[in-house]
């Protein structure tokens, strides 16, 4: 598969890893270079390809909040579940959201089991198809995702307007990524030396959108694709920048990302959405970090069309998804991790989402083989 297989070449990967270790050894400090991979897709890829193990001890990777499923506030998920339960509603959603627990451990999957009409779709256009085929029902699309995903929802809404399909609306829970990155750095809870930047978000917003990192925080950012060679070359670039003391934005995904991003996609966003506050699970409210539908789309705004009261409830006791999402701890730092919280019994969203850090650690790295042999812990899940 072109543009995939070439970027998975094991021989080249080994060379990139060797270069990383070689460069990292040149710096005076003895602790590992700590980088954050902002994006959950990177967390998943790093774990799936076994890259973390190859980079130890030169580089330590901390996962960030770039998992839109993980950062959806419990109250927002409760709202989605309430909508799904409403008579006449078909809730269309990406598969990622279906098993995430809201408050009181409710999930969309459980709602489907008790009769809610929930459809998993690959694209908002598939949801629009359903709306056309079922004119007597209201199709509500659960809009979760960052700047990569929101333009597609915007386009689907515009198409619904143009073709005159009235029964299609969106519950917008879309969020913006640079404000979350800022919030982490402002909080100062974790010392980061570099950021692996989200490649597909950047295809939309542009690599230049991350210039504030070297400019305001003196931290380098390498915008990275998702194949192993992409990730390793981005880490390599960051290590070199850290060792040289020259923070900058490096675009290592130039085949898909331009400095200015995709202006057409940005215009779609601007036409349909406006920026406002948003609640990030684990962070609380972050100013100017959410996308809500403009007044001109009020008739397709599920939040306005179907207002539902949701009581806010605290996170389950002991759940440290917030700390994981802010990069303060790795999943292994949470007392519930694998003792209580597991994919079979997820307490928080980081364990449920395929790209949540806890799920990635549990699935792929919970016990790398040496650790397993040393600890000889019997299986809990």
């Amino acid at each position: 598969m072109k543009f995939i297989d070439e970027f998975r070449d094991p021989a080249l990967a080994r060379k990139l890893v060797a270069q990383i270790h070689h460069d990292a050894a040149r710096r005076a400090a003895s602790h590992p270079i700590r980088l954050m991979e902002f994006c959950g897709g990177h967390t998943h890829a790093i774990s799936r390809f076994g890259l973390r193990e190859l980079l130890t001890p030169a580089v330590e990777l901390r996962s960030g909040p770039g998992c839109p499923v993980c950062v959806t506030a419990a109250a927002d998920l409760d709202r989605a579940i309430a909508l799904a339960d409403a008579p006449g509603v078909i809730l269309a959603t990406f598969g990622d959201m279906v098993r995430v627990p809201g408050s009181r451990r409710q999930t969309l999957q459980a709602a489907a089991a008790r009769g809610a009409d929930i459809r998993i779709v690959y694209s908002p256009l598939d949801a629009l198809d359903i709306a056309r085929q079922q004119p007597q029902r209201e199709v509500v699309f659960l809009g979760v995702g960052f700047e990569t995903t929101a333009p597609g929802i915007a386009a689907a809404l515009l198409q619904a307007e143009t073709e005159g399909t009235p029964n299609f609306s969106v519950l917008s829970l879309h969020k913006l990524t640079p404000p979350a990155m800022r919030a982490i750095l402002e909080a100062g809870e974790v010392a980061l030396e570099g950021i692996i930047g989200p490649g597909h978000v950047s295809a939309v917003i542009g690599s230049a959108a991350w210039e504030f990192l070297p400019r305001e925080y003196a931290i380098p950012c390498a915008v990275a694709g998702f194949e192993p060679l992409d990730i390793l070359s981005a880490i390599g670039a960051l290590v070199q920048a850290v060792v040289a003391g020259e923070p900058a934005v490096v675009n290592t995904y130039a085949r898909g990302v331009r400095a200015e991003g995709n202006p057409v996609a940005q215009q779609l966003l601007a036409r349909v959405f406006e920026v406002g506050p948003a609640d990030w699970r684990g962070f609380g409210a972050i100013a100017n970090s959410g996308l809500t539908l403009r007044e001109s789309f009020a008739h397709r705004d599920a939040a306005r069309l179907f207002p539902v009261e949701v009581a806010s409830t605290p996170e389950p006791p002991g759940c440290r998804c917030g700390d994981v999402l802010r990069g303060v701890i790795a999943p292994t730092g949470c007392a519930l991790f694998r003792r209580v919280c597991s994919p079979r019994n997820p307490i928080g969203p980081c364990m449920v989402s395929a790209e949540g850090a806890c799920a990635a650690y549990f699935q792929y790295e919970r016990w790398n083989v040496e650790t397993f042999e040393r600890s000889n812990v019997s299986t809990g899940a």
Binding site: G41, L54, S123, P151, G152, V204, S233, A254, G256
Partner: protein, 84 residues
Amino acid sequence: MCLAIPVQITAIDEQQMATVTLGGVERHISLIMTPEAQVGDYVLVHTGYAIAVLDPDEAQASLEAFATLAAIQEELEPCADEIY
């Protein structure tokens, strides 16, 4: 986040919808965000939309940079091919 995969455009219709293929699997996707895309181009597709046209020259440049790095390493440390 953001599973977006590189697929090749095999056909485009009048509504800016393209037929794309990857490994024999086909889908219709929207080119609304990449109006400049042509048949034969590779695009990154996320949730049924092309979000970027892939630049094969840049891809080639990246791969060549990796290969060059590998060659330099071989020259400097021919015995130091770590086995992982």
